[in-house]
């Protein structure tokens, strides 16, 4: 009985206490004002391009109904994105991670990010997360930043394929030229024969060992065989090149199987 009383008291006390303490659950908001170089918005995403060795300036406004606490800017590579779903590119070279202490209900932060000259070229993400003093987290804002390097990408020329193919046919690639203005050392060339779902049927790679000190590669008599049971549809030859600086370039040619 004594315990019952204690518990009843707790219930009353607990319910009473409930009302005096309205908790702040309003999220802060993060708004991207501008960037330099300027971003473009498409498909609900912010895109920007920058060359290695330059700076990237962000201007972001954070606001909250009560009290702001922190902004975190986090930049890292997103290389899986661009390797045609093969994910063979190397790991990150450039990262950025900084927490900014905030105060008040509105604040603008303008960090200037320096992209090192040796940054691996490719797609990066810059994520901006914000917290208020109660721990409410804002929806993050993300910029898809493409870093290109100097010298620029390799060129792919002479990708000639038949417009129409048949089952069992042998496709021969001749005169396909991959040339870089600097060097292909440490890079990689992949030539893929893909089905209508962009799934590789055959894969021919030229590994980095063969590219040491090479400025251009001419492919002669590379062959792919169309499988005897291949279904009709649009097939592709896809060429993917990474140069010494990590710049990625690609080329694609279509073939129809009736």
């Amino acid at each position: 009985m004594k315990k019952l009383i204690i518990i009843s008291v707790i219930v009353v006390f607990a319910c009473g206490k409930d009302e005096n303490k309205p908790a702040d659950t309003t999220k802060p908001t993060t708004k991207l004002l501008f960037t330099s170089p300027a971003y473009e918005e498409h498909d609900n995403e912010y895109h920007a391009d920058v060359e290695a060795g330059n700076t990237f300036t962000i201007n972001v406004k954070i606001s909250d109904n009560q009290q702001l606490k922190q902004l975190k800017i986090d930049a890292h590579h997103n290389f899986d994105d661009h390797t045609h779903a093969h994910g063979r590119a190397e790991l990150t070279k450039w990262t950025f991670n900084k927490i900014y202490e905030l105060a008040g209900t509105e604040q603008t932060i303008s960090p200037v990010l320096t992209i090192p000259t040796d940054a691996v070229a490719g797609p990066y993400h810059i994520d901006m997360h914000a917290l208020d003093a109660s721990g409410n987290e804002a929806d993050f804002v993300e910029i898809a930043l493409y870093i290109s390097n100097i010298p620029e990408q390799a060129s792919v020329t002479g990708l000639n394929v038949p417009a129409v193919i048949t089952n069992g046919q042998v496709i021969t690639l001749s005169g396909l030229t991959i040339a870089d203005n600097k060097d292909l050392t440490g890079g990689k060339i992949e030539i893929l024969f893909e089905d209508p779902n962009h799934k590789a049927i055959a894969d021919k790679d030229i590994e980095s060992a063969d590219l040491k000190g090479v400025k251009s590669v001419v492919v002669q008599n590379f062959t792919f065989t169309v499988p005897a049971n291949a279904a009709s549809g649009i097939y592709h030859i896809y060429v993917w090149v990474k140069d010494a600086d990590g710049n990625i370039s690609d080329a694609e040619a279509e073939m129809r199987l009736n």
Binding site: K3, I10, P22, A23, Q70, F140
Partner: protein, 806 residues
């Protein structure tokens, strides 16, 4: 520990050989039996005979009678007679059961009573007054101050869902935290993870239950019966049972010289599950065995959506199937044992193995390139988890003079491997490759209970429970350290029954625990795998804890059909290793969580009331509850970020003053001999007094209604045909913790059909068909781990089970 292993080893040899019946060994075994049986000197044996009759005096054949304490079972013959031979003097509980009749339970004192006239009442309700095996003093619900929900084999056959917990979710007060299909864990009245205990054959299941993405490692097809205790159960089950217990109990005993083989075929349309579960069991003069083998394979599951929204992005769901949610399971168990007049001794060895994919977009921010179809719905790529749970369980019951001593011992080895690309977390190339987490948990458990029957009114039980755990970890993530955890608890439970209407229960328990945590480290490597630096994530420390719990309760029959039950208690739970020393990003929960080595044991006061009405046609139970915790442990959102690349907000394990209240209301109405109507509802309100906010992961208010048509006999070979239609409605859940996503309400409809083929009482073939989520409703489950990503749940699912008994 060495001693225990020796003990287990000798037991395996002993029981296996004993069952095989090798004569040479039998001599040695007899010596062992002699040593075990303190009562061996009293040689006088008696018989318990009797007859089972209907209310109009006709004998009933095929009634199974069993003695609880030694698991001996017999069946009535065509004249309704039965006999147990070679029974020693002592106190016993005897049960008589047959489908279609109300179960019967009685106490027997030998040598005083030797012949029984038992009358069984016919009933349409198949769950009438069943014996609760897991109740401290093994009685019916009527004689306990707390009610235990019993889920029978029939329920499992007719309602089986993706996992054991999904099957049990329909019971009011019970929910499941899911991660896709195949991974789910129990929630009782809003409490989950380390606040809920699951026991299998009396031994508490010890996996890595702290993780919301870690499922319960139990083969649902090996489960015959489950008993669920909602509310504080820490007295008998130990500190983790603060919120309730799910007891998986030993399957029914077959009476002597009976063998049974059962093969079940399973198909589920939604994720193309194909499964087989085959089992056999038998009893030859009290030498019993049981084996079971289950294999399941399933593909990516289907949702009624082609895309989902995350933050500002719209992401694709290729062909409405969530990429990389396929999985498979292979489970096996072997049991053998002896049922004798001195008691019983059983050995169960089982292994559970599950390999399941984690949705491809669930490792960090989902990216559309991760979600492109890989050409195969059945493959398991990264991220994924691979779990193995091995168990050895020994259950003994031994007669000491007139009383009984039971002993359950268990060894468990839980191996959990979680794989994910380290690149996705920007950790760099790691020598461990994709192995994010490797957790190896060894648990030794011992439960000893001694039952004393003082007189007809007073029964007591004293018990001792010990557990030792060793955890070893590896992997490129750090979540919990290597640790050693020792717990010992002693308890005393008493039942006083002054008259037929009133029963009092009382219990007290004291626990002490010791935990030693090793330092936790994370290594960082460069692109070619050279070690760059080692980061200390948590320091080594040791802690000693102790606390006590106690409870009082009563059950009172105001009227023969109206029962009120009241329980009040103080309970506690020791902090878990994760709560004490986590410090890392767990890709499974998508959060960076940090432990606190200074957390104190969580303690609280809990009260519940049960009001039950039961007549021939209608039964109802209303069960309100209130839990108050002075220092409820949970992972709290802080106002700081973690200063690491691509890691967000810090969640810190902390303690808050909190309370929970709620109720379940359960109704069953037998409108007509063929029609049953069921309507249940449950609600939980959880409030954190320190933050003024609700607590996270609280199930929404729900209502369940079902109408079932069933007919006992249709023709000579087709019978017990049933058809049922149910609706479950879930209210939106707006009461959420900080940064937790609220969810919208939804209504699901389900259909079930089934029939049994074979002669009466044989039921050789059972065919069960269910259509879950009939209307293919798009909804988000508040307790789903994928809620964070706004991923919808499984769409329409046709479940087909066929059970063949031989």
């Amino acid at each position: 520990m060495y001693f225990l292993q020796q003990y287990i080893n000798s037991y395996i040899t002993y029981i296996c050989l004993k069952t095989l019946g090798k004569t040479k060994i039998r001599h040695i075994a007899n010596v062992l039996v002699f040593l075990l049986s303190i009562d061996a000197h009293s040689q006088a044996v008696y018989s318990i005979g009797g007859i089972v009759l209907t209310t109009d005096g006709k004998p009933i054949p095929n009634v199974v009678l069993h003695i609880h304490e030694n698991m001996l079972a017999v069946q009535t013959d065509s004249t309704g007679k039965f006999i147990f031979n070679h029974i020693k003097p002592g106190h016993y509980h005897l049960h008589a059961e047959l489908l279609g009749y109300k179960s019967y339970e009685t106490h027997i004192d030998l040598p005083e009573l030797t012949y029984l006239y038992i009358t069984l009442y016919q009933t349409t309700k198949y769950l009438d007054e069943v014996v609760i095996e897991s109740a401290p003093l093994k009685t019916t619900n009527a004689q306990n101050s707390f009610k235990t929900d019993k889920i029978t084999q029939q329920y499992f056959e007719r309602n089986s869902s993706n996992t054991l917990m999904n099957t049990l979710e329909m019971i009011p007060g019970i929910s499941a935290i899911n991660m896709g299909i195949g991974v789910s864990k129990p929630v009782i009245r809003g409490l989950s993870m380390s606040n809920i205990a699951v026991t299998d054959n009396g031994i508490k299941q010890e996996g890595q239950q702290w993780g919301s993405d870690h499922g319960l490692e139990i083969d649902q097809y090996s489960v015959d019966e489950v008993e669920i205790l909602k509310g504080p159960s820490a007295l008998m089950y130990g500190s983790d049972a603060i919120g309730g217990v799910i007891n998986i109990i030993q399957p029914k005993i077959l009476h002597s010289n009976v063998y049974e083989t059962k093969i079940m075929g399973i198909y589920r349309s939604n994720n193309d599950t194909y499964g087989v579960s085959a089992g056999a069991n038998g009893n030859k003069n009290g030498n019993i065995f049981r084996v079971r083998l289950t294999g399941l394979q399933y593909a990516d599951y289907k949702v009624p959506a082609a895309q989902f929204n995350y933050n500002r992005y719209t992401l694709p769901i290729y062909e409405g199937r969530l990429k990389n949610t396929a999985g498979n399971e292979v489970n096996a168990s072997v049991m053998c044992g002896l049922n004798r007049s001195w008691g019983y001794s059983h050995l169960t060895v089982s292994n559970y193995h599950q390999n399941t994919g984690i949705f491809a977009g669930a490792a960090g921010i989902p990216r559309s390139y991760q979600l492109t179809h890989d050409g195969n719905f059945r493959d398991i790529s990264l991220p994924n988890q691979n779990v193995n749970h091995f168990k050895i369980i020994i259950n003994n019951s031994l007669k000491i003079r007139h009383n009984w001593l039971t002993h359950d011992a268990g060894y468990q080895y839980n191996l959990r491997n979680e794989y994910s690309k380290p690149e996705a977390f920007l950790i760099g190339l790691h020598p461990l490759g994709n192995l994010a987490l490797n957790l190896r948990l060894h648990t030794f458990t011992n439960n000893i209970r001694y039952f004393i029957n003082i007189n007809e009114k007073i029964e007591v039980l004293t018990g001792l429970q010990t557990s030792q755990q060793i955890n070893n970890t590896n992997g490129y993530e750090y979540v919990i350290p290597n640790f050693l955890n020792i717990q010992t608890g002693a308890y005393f439970i008493a039942k006083y029954k002054p008259n037929i209407r009133l029963t009092y229960n009382f219990g007290i328990r004291y626990d002490a625990g010791y935990a030693y945590m090793q330092a936790g480290k994370v290594n960082y490597y460069d692109n070619v795998g050279t070690l760059l630096n080692t980061e200390i994530r948590s320091y080594a420390f040791s802690r000693l804890y102790h606390n006590w719990a106690s409870a009082v309760g009563l059950s009172y029959f105001i009227h023969s059909q109206v029962n009120i039950k009241i329980n009040i208690g103080k309970s506690f739970r020791l902090p878990t290793p994760q709560e004490l020393s986590a410090n890392g990003y767990h890709h499974g929960t998508f959060r960076y969580e940090k432990g606190d080595s200074s957390l104190s044991p969580m303690s609280g006061y809990q009260a519940d009331v049960g009001l039950y009405y039961d007549n021939k046609k209608y039964n109802s139970g209303f069960t309100p509850f209130f839990n108050y915790f002075a220092n409820y442990i949970y992972s709290k959102a802080t106002a700081s970020f973690v200063n690491k690349l691509d890691v967000g907000q810090l969640y810190q394990f902390s303690q808050s003053e909190a309370y929970f209240w709620g109720a379940e209301w359960q109704n069953e109405y037998y409108i007509h001999k063929h029609f049953t109507l069921r309507a249940n509802t449950d609600y939980v309100y959880a409030h954190n007094l320190s933050t003024g906010l609700p607590l996270p992961f609280i199930p929404p208010f729900s209502v369940f209604a079902e109408v079932e048509y069933s007919t006992p006999i249709a023709t000579k070979y087709l019978h017990k045909c049933y058809a049922k239609y149910s609706i479950s409605a879930y209210e939106s859940q707006q009461r959420v913790d900080r940064n937790e996503k609220p969810t919208q309400g939804y209504i699901l409809m389900h259909l079930g059909l089934g029939i049994y083929v074979g002669k009466q009482y044989k039921d050789r073939i059972g065919i069960h068909l269910q259509i879950q989520n009939l209307a293919d409703v798009l909804y988000i489950n508040h307790l789903s781990r994928y809620k964070l990503l706004n991923l919808p749940e499984q769409g329409r699912n046709v479940v087909f089970n066929i059970v063949v008994k031989m």
